[in-house]
């Protein structure tokens, strides 16, 4: 019954906040690893498509690793 109540009165952007998160959604460790991998792949693909002609791919790897680290630690 409680669920029903909530469906009738949707509340926008309610995030369970205990400390500041980067991501707009609630995540666990696995989610964050998953998001990092997704971003890693995306950054590499986009890099290869648009930037590799000017800058080597290693930079993309470094950027993705940094982004991944931040997400996993602070997501």
């Amino acid at each position: 019954m409680a669920d029903q109540e909530q469906i009738h009165h949707p509340v926008e952007h309610q995030v369970e906040v205990d400390r500041p998160h980067l991501l707009p959604i609630y995540t666990n460790a696995f989610d964050r690893v998953f998001i990092s991998i997704v971003l890693l792949v995306a950054i590499h693909l986009l890099w290869m498509r648009f930037l590799e002609a000017y800058l080597p791919l290693e930079i993309a790897t470094i950027i993705s690793l940094v982004v991944g680290y931040i997400i996993i630690r602070r997501g």
Binding site: H8, P10, V11, I25, V38, M48, R49
Partner: protein, 290 residues
């Protein structure tokens, strides 16, 4: 919550099967994706080439075209299915004589093998023998030829998919609609809301999880449609206008035996599907969590 060990035990058989027939091949494909491997190249060996396959893929016009065809196909088909399915489900909500008959007939397309559906639609639309071009020509003097006209061929595969999958959407929507509590709707009607307002501000928000679920399932399956399109347009013609990414991978892996490149292509497609579905999944769980 109960002892977790029993839980894992109950989960184990499913996970083992999925691991063996799902994850293990995935790992193999992942591995092969980093190699240049074609059985009929001058050097038949697997040569490690790192991310070269992917580097090539992001510039490959055939692949990108196929991807674009797939996305357009899925978009048009799924949106139409959602609209038509929602509408038909509404029509089934009320009782009327013969309802279950109509509903049963409506389910038939779901039961036909995709490869047979492709064959049926080919028989319907093949110029010269099929009734669709014949009647269009006779009644409207309209020239319908899916062998020559790319946009007509594209339209044909979208309509075929709508025909095939709308019943699934209708039934799911119907199940969702029937399960909705009626009080809010009644209350709103009492308060003087009109039909459209009830739909827009009450039914639609209530149905949001169902819509997301259907969207998820249809996008997931729509992106990997191969059999019926391959059969209908004979491998994705005219040109490459109906060559979905599934058909393209099929052509790269089967006749071209380009296993390395095909694996990379497959993984990239899988990646895009997972990302698209993940967003839907997250919005679904967030909706539920609230």
């Amino acid at each position: 919550m109960r002892k977790t060990r029993t839980g894992w035990l109950l989960l184990a058989p499913s996970m083992i099967i999925l691991f063996v027939v799902g994850i293990v091949p995935f790992i193999y494909v992942l591995y092969v994706g980093f190699f240049d491997w074609n059985l009929f190249s001058a050097s038949r060996e697997m040569n490690f080439t790192g991310v070269d396959n992917y580097r090539q893929l992001v510039f490959d016009p055939l692949f990108l075209d196929a991807l674009w065809v797939t996305i357009r196909f899925t978009f048009f088909a799924v949106v139409s299915q959602l609209i038509i399915g929602f509408f038909l489900a509404q029509m089934l909500l009320r009782d009327f004589p013969g309802k279950s008959f109509f509903r049963t007939i409506h389910t038939i397309p779901l039961m036909i093998a995709p490869i047979a559906i492709g064959a049926i639609w080919r028989l319907l639309t093949i110029p010269g023998f099929g009734p669709v071009p014949f009647l269009l020509d006779r009644w409207f003097d309209f020239d319908f030829n899916i062998g020559t006209n790319a946009s007509q061929a594209f339209l044909a595969i979208v309509i075929m998919d709508i025909w095939h999958w709308t019943p699934f959407v209708t039934l799911t929507m119907l199940a969702g609609l029937s399960a909705l509590p009626v009080e809010p709707r009644e209350a709103a009607l009492v308060d003087g809301a009109n039909g459209w307002q009830v739909f827009r501000y009450i039914t639609l928000p209530q149905m949001q999880p169902v819509v997301l679920t259907v969207l998820f399932i249809r996008i997931m399956d729509g992106l990997r449609t191969v059999d019926e399109i391959n059969m209908l347009t004979n491998g994705g013609g005219p040109g490459t206008s109906t060559r979905t990414v599934g058909i393209h991978i099929f052509r790269v892996v089967f006749p071209q035996t380009d296993y390395g490149y095909g694996s990379a292509m497959s993984l990239l497609t899988l990646y895009l599907t997972i990302v698209a579905c993940w967003f839907l999944f997250v919005s679904l769980t967030q909706v539920r969590r609230r």
